[in-house]
Amino acid sequence: MTSPADQGHVAAAGDVATLDPDEARAPAGRAVPWRRIAVITALIVVAVVLAYVRSGSGVVVVQAVATGVLIGGVYGLIAMGLTLIFGVLDIVNFAHGSFLALALFLTFGLAQAGLHPYLALAVSVPAMFLLGVLVQRGILAGAMGKPLENQLLITLGISLIIENALLLFFGANPRSVPLPGDRGVPIFEAVANLSRILAFVGALLLAGLLYLLLQRTRLGTAIRAVAANDTGAQLVGIDTRVIYAVTFALGTACAGAAGTLVAPLVTIEPTTGALFNIVAFVVVVLGGMGNVVGALVGGLVIGLAEQLGGIYLPGQSPLLSVFIVFVLVLFLRPQGLFGRSA
């Protein structure tokens, strides 16, 4: 127990990151941590080579990498919303996956009504944004500043309600939203469905938009200010209540967008969101809680871990390798791959 007592309340989880000595050398935000990127890239290369040795087939590894990267982009988008909420509101949002499930069902409904699945974005994103505002103002605002467990339990409650309301009203029969004109597209020796590639591209685009929003707009500056120091932000005249609501809504909108993008890829069930939620938590920790760019990179890493893990541990669930990566990161780099910056 050599915890630095003079740091006061280390218990606030985000602070862990700031204790990292590396943080001083790579000041928050601007500088690109080339060394760390190199290390991560090297690790990935090693993992791919080992997978090749293990499977003995180049095609299989190329396919695994392609599939992993494509799904990883989507994980990244989902995790960006989650990490944004954590960075600004200090909430571990257990309801994130259920927002995604809600967007899935919304997309399904619109597609049933004859809308092209991707056009559903025009509905699902604003709808989830609005829902985010309502949930934050209506429920979570009452628990701001309370112990972490309180928010965790509240969002857990929200997720139980949403998931089971979907079950209650739609039943558990799996549904699907086929993408018109979906087909296999060759990538080197591998193939991937067009829907998967479009979801990946869409996720990257939206992630880029979110990044620009945070870095280049007044709103983004205000959000980052609140993330860094909310009392300070209040002092310079930022209405933190508005920022909290908007940030939470942006996060849920990310889940909404992701929901529509993955709708053609997954089987739509009330519990589908929970699966993504677990992965998203792992990604968030991996990328560093509150780090938006880290979430995207973390998503790619986890997508790869899931696919390559299936090669390393045949017969084990790919989720197992995701959790192994998760626990290792928690213990060895709790501040995530890129430390903290919002």
Partner: protein
């Protein structure tokens, strides 16, 4: 000390109240109890809500139609024409709920139980049946472990995972040899649960007897798999000429899509064993051209049987839905109990059990002889048949006596 008492009372009261709150089931059963003199109760335990509600409701409907048919034909004649009464219960697909609901039906005086679809629930219900000495006739639940307990009161109408895997391998061998292209290597893609693993093991053992190489065997988690492309690429890399798939509906569709995307060149056929997707009418609709040529060795309602056609028609009229094989199995299971009631000379569950063990009941399932139970409670005549998607519809193709048309092997001629 007064506060101690207050506290104790405060704790006891809600418990008592809660107990009353939960008295709904008992209240319901008391209502039913009034008629217990003139009807014989059979319990139907299925997942009427929850993840498998659609199948559960089909099976419950199948059981209802059987009771209706028997009552219309004059009830149980050996017992003075007493009518049957079906008491339905919802397991919600949860083992604990299944257990308490089974207990409730038994307390209500059910002479036999029919159910339950999910293996975990069936396992629990079979324990209740055994402890209360009330026979349980399993309509759907293939896990071998259920009947491996040595229970005296549990019977199963559908074939077990082992029977399915074994027959599946035999059919494949025979069909390929008849086509002049004996199978060399079978890659296996199976869900990692007890069902997929048991089918894989039985299939592998039987196929290797016929000189077919089996491997690689790739498992996946049916609950959260979202893509099978990498797995099918592994199959492609292995050069196998047949891909065996044992899984459920959602993952079955994913496998079909992955095969259509990856297109392993050496592949002659995708061959399901008890696959939850490949022999369902909606499978060709959802998977489209990707489904064409897919085989499935599975138990299936015999569409060549006139009684079956009549039942399918009745079901369509009554419930506005196409009958699934599960409903037919539930229908048969109720028939099994009714037949036993005719011969048992009483309604004591123990006597009904003995009569079931000795019975021989005609069935509507294709390929099967009459339902007769072996010493472990397994239906000795249960066997699958082979089906194939041809021209966007599921057709019975093997064995010859149950075939609507001939199997096409290799299935993917165009590739």
């Amino acid at each position: 000390m007064r506060k101690t008492w207050t506290l104790s009372l405060a704790l006891t009261l809600p418990l008592a109240l809660a107990a009353c709150g939960g008295s709904g089931p008992a209240g319901t059963s008391n209502g039913g109890g009034a008629q217990s003199g003139d009807t014989i109760k059979i319990g139907s335990l299925h997942p009427l809500s929850g993840a498998s509600a659609a199948d559960g409701q089909q099976m419950d409907n199948g059981a209802k139609l059987a009771v209706e048919a028997i009552n219309n034909a004059g009830g149980i004649k050996a017992q003075g024409g007493k009518k049957l009464e079906l008491v339905s219960a919802d397991t919600q697909g949860k083992p604990e709920v299944g257990q308490s609901e089974a207990q409730r039906l038994v307390s209500d005086g059910a002479v036999g139980l029919v159910g339950t679809y999910q293996s975990a629930v069936t396992a629990n219900v079979s324990t209740v049946a055994e402890r209360n000495k009330v026979p349980l006739v399993i309509d759907v639940s293939s896990a071998d472990s259920i009947l491996a307990q040595g229970y005296k009161y549990t019977f199963r109408v559908q074939p077990s995972s082992t029977v399915l895997g074994t027959a599946g391998a035999q059919f494949l061998d025979q069909v390929a040899k008849a086509a002049g292209k004996p199978v060399r290597t079978v890659a296996v893609l199976h869900e990692q649960g007890p069902f997929g693993s048991a089918v894989r093991d039985a299939f592998k053992a039987e196929a290797e007897k016929a000189g077919i190489k089996v491997g690689p065997a790739i498992a996946y988690d049916a609950a959260n798999v979202s893509d099978l492309t990498t797995q099918v690429t592994q199959v492609k890399a292995s050069g196998a000429d047949v891909l065996m798939v044992a899984g459920y509906y959602r993952d079955g569709v994913l496998a079909a899509k992955a095969v259509a995307t990856v297109k392993p060149p050496a592949l002659n056929a995708v061959y399901g064993v008890a696959n939850g997707a490949f022999d369902l009418p909606q499978f060709p609709k959802e998977a489209g051209a990707a489904a064409e040529g897919f085989f499935d060795a599975n138990y299936h309602a015999d569409m060549t049987n006139a009684d079956m056609q009549a039942l399918a028609k009745l079901y369509q009229e009554r419930y506005n839905d196409a009958i699934r094989t599960g409903a037919v199995l539930a229908y048969d299971s109720v028939k099994v109990i009714a037949d036993a009631l005719e011969r048992s000379g009483g309604t004591e569950p123990a006597k009904v059990r003995d009569a079931i063990a000795e019975g021989s009941v005609p069935t509507l399932i294709a390929g099967n002889g009459p339902i007769t139970f072996g010493p472990t409670g397994e239906n000795e005549n249960a066997t699958p048949i082979l089906m194939q998607v041809q021209g966007g519809a599921v057709k019975q193709v093997f064995p010859a006596d149950k075939a609507e048309t001939k199997p096409v092997y290799p299935a993917f001629t165009s590739r």
